[in-house]
Symmetry: C2
Subunit: 402 residues, 2 copies
C-alpha cells in the first residue's frame, strides 16, 4: 500500500463531495468569503472531536448531539462570528442554519454539521447568514477550485488557505483523504482551536471513523500550541462517503493505511496552522526526551512551548536558552537540573546542567527551529509545535476585534 | 494600634539598618547601579520564601541552606546576572560573595543572604562583582537616599525603583516595616519573581517571622501574574533587627498588627510590580467570586489573568469579554456557562450566560480595570492582579537579552 501526496489537494480530492462558498458580510475584515458549505453526494459516516472549553459554542453543542452518525450529508461553516455565549438564541440559530441547508440539499437537519469561528458573545446576524448559505449552495461544485474557495471562506486572521490531500493505493483500489483547516490565534492542545474538515471516499464504519479521528487529532492538533488559549469553537470533523468503493475494516493493513493517511493529512494541516500563526514568523519544534512518563514529557514541552519569554526570544533570534530551562523548571514536573541537557538545532548549549558556552545565535536565526530538552530521567518523550511571539501578534490581538 | 504609611519610605525607614549600592558593570543596559547591600547593625532574625522553579539559582540554594536564622547581618544582591544554571562554579561564586561581605562587615558567611537577577546560564563576572561589593560597602549609609539608591540598584527592566514603608504605633512603642522590590517580566504566582527585601525594627522570633512571611507572600506576590513565567531566582527576604525595642509575640494583637503591616507593605510592593510590568500600561484586577472552592476560584482567575488574548484586549481597550469567558472555560474548572456572569468595572456584560449588550469600551479605556467573574456555584473567591500585553513587552523580550 502506498500513500501519495496530491498536489494542491483539498477536501474535494476524494470523490463524491462538492463545496460551495460565499461572502455575506459577517466577516468585516475581509470580503473573500465567510460561509462555506461541504456536501457529500450521499449519506456519509461522520465523526468529530471538539473543544474541551466549558463555554462550548452553540454549533459545537449541536455537533456533539448529532455525531457520530452514519447518514450525514453536509457541513456548513461561517467565519466572523463564533455563535458562542449567545444563550438560547444561539442554539436556535444553529438549528435554523442546519434546517436551511437540509431544505436546500434534501435531508434532515440532524444530517447537517455546523461550525463557526469569530467573535464571542454576539448573536449571529441570521439575515446575512441565510443569504450566505443560499449563495454558497448555489455555488456548489466538485472541482478543486471550489474546495480551495471553501478553505478561503473559513479563514479569519489566517493569511492563506490551508488544505492537504493524499491518495492511498491499495490492492483493492484507491481512496483519498483530503482536508481544510483554519487557525491563526487561540491554538492550544486539547484540542487545538480552529476548524478542521476532512473528507474521504473510503467507506468507514462510524465507530472506526470516530476512533481514527481521536488518534489523528491526538497526533496532530493536540501537538500544536500558539498561545495556550483553547477556544470555545474548536471543531474537527470527518465525513466518509464511500465513493471509492474501498471499505476500511476495524483492523488490518487497510485500517492501518487509513489511519496513516488521516494522520498525515491532519499533521500537515496542523503544522500549516503553526506556520501561519498570528504574527508568527517561525515554526518551533519542542522535543522533550528522557522523561519518566509521556505525560511528564508533555508537561515540560508545553511549559516551554507556551512560555511567552521563550516565544519572544525566538522572535528575536535570541539564543537565550535560560528561558527554556526556566520553563522546564516551573512546569510542575520534578526535573533534575543536574541531568538536564538542552540542544538548539545541533548546538548543545547545556550539558547535564552545565552550560557549554556554545553560541546558538546562528541556529536561532532560521525559520524552522528544533529545541530538544533531554531530562535524563527515563525513556518517554513528547513533541509540540509552536511559533514565535511577535509585536505583530499583539498588534493583531489588541487592535482587531476578533 | 495604628498603621501609618511613611512617605517615601523604604528599607531604611525602620531603625538599625544601612544600605549601600554601586555600579560595577554586570548590568549592561543601565549604569545606575547593579549591586545593593543591606546591613543590619546587629544580628537579625531572617526568613525567606523562594521560587518553586526546579532550576533554582545558586543564590536561592544558598539562602535556603542558611535560612531561617536568628543571627543574619546582611543581604547582598546583584542585577544583570542571575547566577542560575551555572553549576558548581555558581555555588562557589555565591559562597565567595557571602564571604567577602562577611569579611567587610565582620560576621560569618552564613550570616549573609545573597540574591541575583538577570540573565540565566552565564557565570558571574566575579572580578566585577567583588569590586561592586566593596564599593557598595564603602557607600553604606542609614539615610533614606541610600535606601532609595539600593532599590534602584536591583532594577533590571523596571522603569522606577519600588519601595514602601509603614510605621506601627502600639501601646508598647512604635516599630516600622519597610521594603524594596524589583519586578518587570517573569512575574507569576507561586511565587512572583522578583527580589523583595523587607526590614523591620521589631524584634520577631524567627519562627514567627517565617510564618508571617509565608502569609504575606501568599496575600501579595502570589496574587500577581504578568506572563506566567515563574523565574529561577524569586526571593523574598525579611530581616527583623529589633532596634525599636518592640517585641512581637507569637499571638495576640501585636502579632496581628505586625502581620497586617508586613502584608500592607508587601501588597503595595507587589502591585507596584504589576503597574511597572514590562511594556504594561494598565493594572487589571481579576476577581472571581461564587466558586465552589478557593482553589477553583484561583484557577479561573489565573486562566483569565494569564490569557494572552485577554491581555492583548486590555492593551487595546477592546471590551472583548468573550476572551474572559473563553479563559474561564478552559481553566480546568467545571464552570457552568448558564450561571456565569461577567462585570467589567460596573458594566455587567454577561448575565447568567446571556450577553446584556452593555458596551464596556469606555471602562476598558481606564488604566486601572476590574474584571469580576461570578460563577454562581458557591461562595469562594480569589483575586489576581495582572497587566496588559503590549507590543512593547514583545519588543523588550525579543530585542533585549535579559
Amino acid at each position: 500500500m502506498k500513500i501519495v501526496r496530491v498536489e494542491n489537494g483539498n477536501t474535494l480530492s476524494p470523490a463524491g463531495f462538492q463545496a460551495g462558498s460565499a461572502y455575506c458580510g459577517i466577516q468585516t475584515t475581509s470580503t473573500e468569503g465567510d460561509v462555506a458549505l461541504l456536501l457529500s453526494d450521499g449519506p456519509a459516516a461522520a465523526a468529530g472531536l471538539f473543544t474541551t472549553n466549558r463555554f462550548a459554542a452553540a454549533p459545537v453543542q449541536w455537533c456533539r448531539e448529532i455525531l457520530p452518525a452514519s447518514g450525514t450529508r453536509a457541513i456548513v461553516a461561517n467565519a466572523g462570528n463564533a455563535n458562542a455565549c449567545t444563550g438560547e438564541q444561539g442554539r436556535q440559530d444553529v438549528r435554523a442554519s442546519a434546517q436551511l441547508v437540509a431544505e436546500l440539499v434534501g435531508c434532515a437537519a440532524a444530517d447537517v454539521c455546523v461550525a463557526s469561528t469569530g467573535i464571542i458573545g454576539h448573536p449571529l446576524p441570521m439575515d446575512k447568514l441565510t443569504q450566505g448559505i443560499r449563495a454558497a449552495h448555489a455555488s456548489l461544485a466538485a472541482d478543486g477550485a471550489a474546495g480551495q474557495a471553501a478553505a478561503r471562506a473559513i479563514m479569519t486572521t489566517d493569511t492563506r488557505p490551508k488544505t492537504c490531500a493524499v491518495r492511498v493505493e491499495t490492492p483493492g483500489g484507491t481512496f483519498g483523504v483530503g482536508g481544510m483547516t483554519k487557525g491563526a490565534a487561540m491554538i492550544a492542545p486539547n484540542m487545538a482551536t480552529t476548524l478542521c474538515f476532512v473528507t474521504t471516499d473510503a467507506a468507514v464504519p462510524v465507530a472506526v471513523l470516530q476512533e481514527a479521528m481521536r488518534r489523528a487529532v491526538d497526533l496532530s492538533y493536540n501537538r500544536i500550541t500558539i498561545d495556550g488559549d483553547c477556544s470555545t469553537n474548536d471543531t474537527a470533523l470527518c465525513l466518509a462517503g464511500g465513493a471509492s468503493g474501498v471499505a476500511v475494516p476495524a483492523d488490518g493493513p487497510l485500517r492501518d493505511a487509513f489511519d496513516e493517511a488521516l494522520q498525515e493529512v491532519m499533521k500537515d494541516l496542523a503544522v500549516q496552522i503553526v506556520a501561519d500563526a498570528e504574527g508568527g514568523t517561525k515554526v518551533v519544534e519542542v522535543r522533550v526526551t528522557g522523561a519518566r512518563t509521556p505525560h511528564e514529557a508533555g508537561r515540560v514541552a508545553r511549559a516551554i512551548a507556551e512560555s511567552q519569554l521563550f516565544q519572544c526570544a525566538v522572535a528575536g533570534a535570541d539564543p537565550n536558552w535560560g528561558r527554556i530551562v526556566c520553563a522546564a523548571g516551573y512546569s510542575g514536573v520534578n526535573v533534575d537540573p543536574a541531568s538536564t541537557s538542552v540542544t538548539i538545532g545541533t548546538d548543545r548549549v547545556l550539558d547535564k546542567g552545565t552550560p557549554t558556552g556554545v553560541d546558538a545565535t546562528a541556529t536561532m536565526q532560521g525559520d524552522r527551529i528544533t529545541v530538544q530538552v533531554e531530562l535524563g530521567q527515563g525513556a518517554a518523550e513528547a513533541c509540540l509545535y509552536t511559533s514565535d511571539l511577535t509585536q505583530e501578534y499583539v498588534h493583531l490581538n489588541s487592535d482587531y476585534h476578533t
